[in-house]
Symmetry: C2
Subunit: 402 residues, 2 copies
């Protein structure tokens, strides 16, 4: 269910350093600094939650001012719901990096994840910055993958190498996220980098495409967090310049970035709070992608469907009830078909006469299950990923602050 961290190829021009600052707990890696070489470009996607955290506001602002040279990421505290003091604290953290590294405050982007509504403990945080900077190394990805976690149970990373013009280009990324996960980003941080060289606009296009098909297609509990961010950084150190949106090189790089983002997104769902199963929901034969997504998310967000998966119960009635309330107009329920993996459960508005509970049960006993709904009204398709709802989800979220 939860694969080990794969090999993470270093990205030339980017170094990572991790430290134990004691922000919430002692002796736990909780502070990560990422250093970008000069002339690196950066693209970013942030939470759409109107109640966004102070570091999100500050990072957005700094990005408009200059090219970043450092990222500072802390766990244990989200610095969200902290008002004016939170904004000042986020700037103070940037200052700590700027002073130690000798750059401008605006060249530092802050990121925080953890509990909402408590003041950021800036003293231990700032005191930890020199250690994180001293630890900077191109092979620091694995430690950083652990250093950004909160309720995650495993570190998450993915890495691809591809050939462009006969040279090797690397794309490597790490991510964190476990609860509060839903489309439009969540309590999720993801940092992906490449050693190709891309202008900022192309890099943003590449990131937007990758996020749309990965991080924005996962749902653990339907909640959107205040702190999500996903960054794509290009150091240019491979000397491969990708400057044309219509080039094969750009297409190939986009594929690699999308692939890395999809691997990270799936790792987040697999590690969803209390998750025991990875559920892929595929809705096809819709009139447009929007209605397919609507149906897919209604299924993916349904607590009744999710508890049925936890119980390994092929309760197709709950799935069909979710389809029925998804708000698709003029839906002909009698034409809808429903499969679990390759087993047809429903056709003509009811149980498929050939369906045997044993076959549905066999699918349900698996760790990874595909729910396939055919709407029988068009050619459109959409896919989202979610997990089941277990006792442990309740336990983790009931005990979170204690």
């Amino acid at each position: 269910m939860k694969p080990a961290l794969p090999e993470l190829h270093p990205v030339s021009g980017l170094r990572l350093g991790t430290a134990c600052a004691g922000i919430k707990q002692a002796n736990r890696p909780d502070l990560v600094v990422i250093e970008l070489c000069e002339h690196s470009t950066v693209a970013a996607v942030f939470t759409r939650n109107a109640f966004c955290a102070a570091p999100v506001t500050v990072a957005r602002q700094h990005l408009t001012q200059t090219l970043p040279r450092f990222l500072l990421i802390n766990t244990g505290n989200a610095n969200a719901g902290t008002g004016q003091q939170g904004l000042a604290d986020a700037q103070t953290c940037c200052d700590a990096v700027a002073e130690t590294a000798g750059c401008a405050r605006e060249q530092v982007l802050p990121f925080s994840t953890g509990v909402i509504g408590e003041a950021l403990p800036i003293e231990p945080l700032c005191a930890g910055v020199p250690a994180a900077i001293a630890a900077l190394a191109e092979d620091g990805w694995t430690q950083a993958a652990s250093g950004i976690l909160t309720t995650d149970t495993v570190p998450k990373g993915a890495s691809r190498q591809l050939q462009i013009d006969g040279r090797t280009v690397t794309v490597t990324g790490i991510a964190k996220g476990s609860g509060m996960i839903r489309p439009d980003m969540a309590t999720m941080l993801a940092y992906v980098a490449t050693d190709a060289s891309l202008p900022s606009e192309l890099l943003q296009t590449c990131l937007d495409t990758a996020v749309a098909g990965s991080f924005n297609r996962i749902s653990v509990d339907g909640d959107t967090s205040t702190n999500d961010a996903c960054l794509l950084m290009a150091t240019g150190r491979s000397d491969i310049v990708v400057g044309d949106a219509d080039s094969e090189a750009f297409a190939a790089l986009c594929d690699a970035v999308s692939d890395v983002c999809e691997q990270l997104a799936l790792a987040i769902v697999r590690d969803g709070e209390g998750a025991t199963k990875l559920i892929t929901v595929e809705v096809s034969e819709g009139r447009d992608e929007a209605e397919c997504l609507q149906v897919a998310y209604t299924i993916a967000h349904s607590p009744l469907v999710k508890t049925a998966f936890f119980a390994s119960d092929p309760n197709w009635g709950r799935i069909l009830a979710a389809v029925g309330r998804a708000g698709v107009t003029e839906l002909d329920l009698d034409a809808v078909r429903l499969y679990l993996d390759d087993v047809c459960l429903v056709r003509h508005g009811g149980r498929d006469p050939d369906y045997r509970e044993q076959a549905g049960q066999a699918v349900m006993d698996r760790d990874e299950i595909i729910v396939r709904v055919m709407l029988a009204r068009g050619e459109a398709y959409a896919r989202v990923w979610t997990c089941d709802l277990s006792y442990d989800y309740v336990r983790i979220n009931a005990e979170y602050r204690t």
Copy 2:
């Protein structure tokens, strides 16, 4: 937390009979017949789920054909997702009542609640009809309140008497529902009756108003069921005729019906699957009711908020994060205030400087809690009710079919 069933005043002209038909379990009341005297009028609201159950389709159809004389309600099986056979089975049940009672099939309305996707056991069901009809009595409300339950832990009823033109008019109702509860009706059945005389259109107006402020304002898990129905019946036996929509008598009767519906709706939330707390979410100072509702439901549907309530954790950050992602445009988060009962937790985008965790904790330890959000952008207001999300919710829904 769960009050005992109050006294349910009989409604002259309406009789109820309950039987143990052994539909899913032996020796459990699972079949209810309600008989209406001649010339009774009936108003109805049904589920908006496109995947509606066979009895909903049949009941809707019969209502267009003639005035009903009998209602037949079974638990243990929802007759949903059962295709053409389900429609035929629903008609067969109506025939069983029609034959025993000597009326037309179209004068019978069928209702089913229970597991989805299994064929209705019509043999025991039809065999139980004569016993239910033999048991018909005007004081049969209490037994009927138990006879319509599924995962409910307590029967639910409410009753009011009012004076119109110096005479006593009675409004009495029963309801069932525990899981799969959300706006636009849910796995919920409610039967409310009065001995006043009202034309069908006025009765429908009265019901629509009452439902909008009660059953359509509650949420247990965000799922809408396939079988919901709410009926308002007027026997006319009190000889009080309410024929004018602008009359004081109509206003008074509507108030009584709304009151009964609100009591029933609250009883459903209090008995929400696994619920340990009743949460009222009040959103005020919105630009219009729609955005207030949007915010209120986003809070009420959030699993993170609901588990925090289960843990008695005043985690206002989760509530504020829900406000932030509710999709209200141009929301000024710095102006939003958040209270738990009378304790102010948030103002100016962060924790109220006067807030003490102890005060929030004291509210959280209560069984009934009001979450009050002030949006600071208008005069509109909306209120919804929900409950917390506990281990038992997962247990009940994971074990439902086993």
